[in-house]
Amino acid sequence: MFCSMGCGFLIRTVDGRPRELDYDLDNPVNKGSLCPRGNYMLELLNNPSRLEGARIKLNGSFYSSTFDIALSEIYGHLSEIKRAHGAGAVGIMVGPNFLNEDIAQVFAVAKALGIASVDVMLPLEDSLLLSGESTKLSSPVKKLSVEDIADQEALLVVGDILVRSPVTSKMINKVKYGVRGSKIIVVDPERSHTSWFSTRHLQVKPGTEALLLAGMIKAITEGAKKGRALALKKYFKEIDLKQISERTGISTQNIIISAKEFLSAGKAAVILSSGTRDKRLMEMAKLLCLVSGEGKGVIPFYACGNSLGAYKLRTVLKSPGSLTAAEIIDNAASSKIKALVLIGVDLLRIAPTATVKKALSNLSFIAAMDMYRTSVMDYADVIIPLSSHLEAKGSAVYSGGRVQHFEPVSPPAGSLAVRDAMAKIFMKMANAKARSKKLDPSVLAKKALKKFTPKAGVSVPALINEVKAVRRQKPLSGFPFQVMLKDDIVHSSDGSITARHYWAMRECGIPYIEINEEDCRKLSITEGSRVLLRTPWGEVIVIARVSSRWQKGTVALPHHFQEIREISNIGKDEATGLLCFYPFAGSLERIS
């Protein structure tokens, strides 16, 4: 659940209790390898901060209660508010770290209760890539699975994939050292771990990845004499390689050579890593594969294990016209929504914006369900502890659309699976007869996943215009540094499931900022000195790390800290209505 790779592992149990993690050397995906996050996965089961037993708030303090009483409390409040203010006054949000069956059950129960405002809160760094999943282009692009990476002759890697999903490195190494002449082109503003393995590193300016791909498509279509490239040539006429070269910071020659290297490979793949905060990157990657002929494919990686599954289920199960997660937050802030059920969603950690804080204080009833004690629980009226995905049976959808099944390691102790919690809320309303077939979550999830089809949609010229327009934003005066949010190798996504793990806290427990050597010299910042970062959204004090990885004028911070998300630019994507990160700028000052 720490990324969309879907690695296999074994957990040895003694007397039904999990004891030790073991490596599944026969697994076709990871061949036993695990990333650091995977290695301390056992902490999902035995972390001391796991919640046990339900809590109800009375007169400002929490009291222990049984699950039954706590769940009837939730049902009672929801139905009361629904009666008083209408069905629109109640909202439900579910996180992406759950199995398909759990997410399907949430939608089913919400429908049965007559609640329309129900949505999945997708990870912010995935939103822009995921929205590309539902755009259909005129001809289909080959979908690759994770195992296919090793067979390619050329790889175009966008972003730092070896930090997000390090298990791919075995396959990337196979491409690099396997056949002489294989190419690995890395597009990343950082001189990252992935760029160490590149044969060509295109160090673009932050946020111009999609534009660079558009430039590569232009380079390919220009010399095209037949096929799809010729058909698409007219759309790319107005694109000027010189302009692209100026904005991305990559020379025209470099763009043309990279395009040729990608084109001339018999089998090639575009690997998109999550956290690349660029609009329409997925569509541009698909177009690049289309114009460069047979044998090319795209494989996107996401920040959370079941991001793709949750997104697909959401697209199918959401009733048309119902509110999105971003709209639920907006409505809660304006007091249109009075009661909110948060299932595995720590709003304050994911998107600590002013709107979210206002929404949390305005809501008259909040029920929070999560594995750990989260900061959003300070506002909650009822707390239900949830079990992790290791304690439930079900399925998740990973990169390349592979569906993987889970077997429970141990029964949930002192906690409930999401599907059970939802079924119990449902049982409060319905009599025993009604539940029989209607609410079998595994059948529902399977059916819904089958139904998912990309919508036909955006035209190529519109896409190009969008890609070009995003980059025209002017820098704000007084904020000279471009701020990048980067992944940390020991943390997953917003850190809501890894932030309490001991090793992760020890390795990356203090917010830091990576600054270019030259910028450090100018501002007289040294390694370890405290730096005040000011952005239009707030200020934060972080520890400086002098680094040669970033270009001049660019600084980078790990995004799994709430403090750092508070000062970042979180906005709503117009096309899909999903919350996502936007590029932003800031100023630096040494304070000690």
């Binding site: 490596y23 390898s33 301390y40 390090p166 001189r191 020991v490 090793w503």
Partner: protein
Amino acid sequence: MDKRVYLNLDLCCGCKSCAAACSYPYFDHANLTHSELDEKAALPLHCMHCELAACAEACPTGAMKKDEDGVVRRGGFLCVGCYSCISACPFGVLPDELKYHVPAKCDLCSDRLPEGKIPRCVSTCTSGALTFEDVREAAADEKKVWISARMRSNVLFRRR
């Protein structure tokens, strides 16, 4: 059993998963640490179980010693936490802080080896950089003694 952990510097992607794998089952008393060379390559620092183990020779109490199978092990009861082995290690592999009053020491996952399994750091390695090979075979293979291709112009690193 004369097998050792070998590192191929060209393959390592610096994911630190070997360090995590070593840390978790040993209750954060891990021997394997991580370093980075000039922000250009990653270097897991693992115990090499040297032929002439400097740590064992430096040990005043005889806690650190080379066993019959060639693995350098630290006995728990004899160790007094005097830092001698830590300062003696020529590779700087032993972490320079004591935990539970004793230094951490790699024993090649001796709980796993009898079951026919390989050490944790090797099983978890995401890039295939760490391998568990027979000492004689590795020494006979001339190609195995090399200098990293990727680091050629910057740092010379020769494997034992």
